[in-house]
């Protein structure tokens, strides 16, 4: 079901709404937010200069650093007494990123999440179990309000205690699961351990997953546990922009539909900041055009994707963004080719006989870059042929995916470093040695 008629407008209609809202937002932040005024003055651009959507490219970028520099409320465009809610990102380094919402922002958020929930197959009859952590994180409450708005029954079970989660799921008749892909897999594992077969014993038929990359390999793995008839869609958002609800997949699974009447997407070259032509892969930049408290303009998401404007079979006309390939922070340029660790990870996971751990080593070899992938053997063998077959398979697959030759280094199990938090799988030895 398509929630809003704004998801099916013609390109001209969408762009008319975007331009009007963009101009209003730019005028407002220039007037009310000193750091914006300063940035725009430095870039020599005035609100009146924004005459078409193309002029968006004249505006300076905003980064996470700007939010940190103006901690906590420096970029807010409303007096703090108009705020209804505060959320904050975890802030692994230094201060967290603080975001705020007015009454109007809350309504927009709820609307956006209602749309992506419907795109992902949610209905008013669903029992939606939200296994995201409730708290300062935007994921849980964002999905909560959006799903409640479409009339679904909410089971706000939050994270942790997987056995109890499964008991709720079974006894309360959960039909829709909200979780990260990795937690959805963990739940299925625990279910198997305690003798519950999610395919037979549970009624979960819809998975709205987010806040982590969903690779095709992960989705296949989820289907294996939860059943082929489960509709698993990924959705996208980040607290700086609003939280979940920026975009989400529909049942055709060909990219995440962006709520374009609220967000304008652009793709830029992460190194030069240049806007890239339609269809090219690069860093996603988002401009919020209907936010009151924190209307970020040209916010650099650091996420790598590609935009698709062709209409979708589902009937929505909104622009779609390809499922994420990785973060621009992680992008490596090897012999002139852009390489994302996620691409290498997919190859490693697809080769039988290897463990899921890997390390990417890039070195300077004369005038050229040398790429080495270290992988761990998962199964012992007595045969050189088998070892060579594994090497050859990864090398060939990498050549197809990246167009690069890599050296493969097989290692014993448990040789590569293990990480509890964010994994560091890249060693770039080209710089500063």
């Amino acid at each position: 079901m398509i929630w809003s008629k704004n998801e099916t407008l013609s390109r001209e209609e969408i762009e008319a709404i975007q331009l009007e809202r963009l101009q209003e937002t730019v005028h407002r932040v220039y007037e009310k937010v000193a750091p914006y005024r300063k940035k725009m003055d430095e870039a020599g651009v005035k609100p009146e200069d924004i005459k078409s959507l193309k002029d968006l490219a004249k505006l300076p970028f905003v980064t996470k650093q700007d939010l940190r520099d103006n901690y906590p409320y420096g970029l807010f465009a409303v007096p703090t007494d108009e705020l209804l809610r505060i959320h904050a990102s975890s802030g692994t380094t230094g201060k967290p990123t603080v975001v705020g919402y007015t009454k109007g922002d809350m309504d927009v958020w709820t609307e956006c999440v209602s749309r992506i929930a419907c795109a992902g197959g949610a209905k008013s009859t669903d029992f939606a179990q939200i296994c995201f952590g409730y708290g300062m994180f935007t994921g849980a409450l964002g999905l909560h309000y959006g799903l409640e708005n479409i009339g679904a029954t909410i089971i706000p079970s939050s994270t942790g205690n997987s056995e109890k989660q499964l008991m709720y799921m079974k006894d309360f008749g959960t039909t829709l699961l909200v979780a990260t892909p990795s937690y959805a897999l963990r739940l299925a594992e625990v279910a198997n351990e305690i003798g519950i077969d999610p395919k037979k014993d549970l009624k979960v038929k819809i998975g709205l997953v987010g806040s982590e990359l969903l690779t095709d390999a992960m989705r296949d793995e989820m289907h294996r546990y939860w059943g082929d008839d489960m509709l698993i869609t990924s959705n996208y958002g980040m607290s700086e922009l609003m939280g979940p609800g920026v975009s989400g997949e529909c049942e055709y699974l060909n990219g995440m539909h962006i709520n374009e009447d609220f967000f304008i997407p652009e793709i830029i070259d992460p190194e030069t900041g240049e806007v890239l032509p339609e269809g090219e892969k690069g860093e996603l930049v988002i401009t919020c055009i209907k936010k009151e408290a924190l209307p970020l303009i040209r916010y650099r998401t650091r996420d790598i994707t590609r935009l698709m404007y062709e209409p979708c079979q589902c009937g929505r006309t909104t622009c779609r963004m390809e499922n994420l390939q990785g973060r621009s922070d992680d992008m490596l340029k090897i012999r002139g080719v852009n390489v994302f660790p996620g691409q290498i990870e997919e190859v490693v996971l697809s080769v039988e006989g290897l463990g899921p751990h890997y390390e990417i080593v890039v070195e300077r070899d004369g005038y050229s870059d040398k790429l080495t992938i270290r992988v761990e053997l998962a199964k012992a063998t007595d045969s050189f042929k088998e070892l060579e077959k594994i090497e050859k398979e990864i090398r060939n697959k990498l050549r197809v995916v990246l167009g690069l030759d890599a050296k493969i280094k097989l290692e014993s199990p448990n040789t590569l470093a293990r990480f509890e938090g964010k994994a560091k799988r890249i060693r770039d030895l080209r710089k500063g040695v």
Binding site: K379, A380, T381, D382, L410, N414
Partner: protein
């Protein structure tokens, strides 16, 4: 008759072979024979030991990739040409040898460890031609 061989994957890194031997020694697994084949990046260490199952278990627990494989230990007299005759017999019967190495024991006969993918056929061929192979019991007694 077949016996169990212990195979260990080792990276070509200084001290790696020593680590394997260290774990075997700590667990009182003694080595009767060994062969080390390598490429530029890694090697496969093949060992005839007194307790291959235990050897494999302790090595895998220590983070190595090791496995146990069936091989044949052929007994042959200390006569020039004895090995050649046996190999000719094997090859005439369309059996491929993947690798072979000597087993050094002080006995009347010489012995050679042979790995083939057609292990049952090889055993039968040797038996039919009156060529002796070593049993696990004999091996334990060494």
């Amino acid at each position: 008759m077949t016996v169990k061989q212990l195979s260990v994957f080792i990276e070509n890194r200084r001290g790696r072979l020593g680590e394997v031997l260290h774990f075997l020694k700590e667990n009182k697994v003694s080595i009767l024979s060994m062969s080390l084949a390598d490429t530029s990046e890694f090697g496969l260490l093949r060992l005839i030991v007194n307790d291959p199952e235990k050897g494999s278990k302790v090595l895998n627990e220590a983070g190595f990739a090791s496995t146990v494989t069936d091989v044949i230990i052929i007994k042959l007299p200390h006569i020039a040409g004895a090995l050649q005759e046996i190999l000719e017999l094997i090859s005439k019967n369309d059996i491929d040898i993947e690798y072979a190495y000597g087993l050094s024991v002080e006995a009347e006969d010489a012995t050679i460890v042979v790995k083939t993918s057609q292990i049952d056929k090889a055993c039968q061929t040797l038996k039919d031609n009156g060529i002796g192979t070593m049993s696990p019991k004999e091996l334990e007694a060494l």
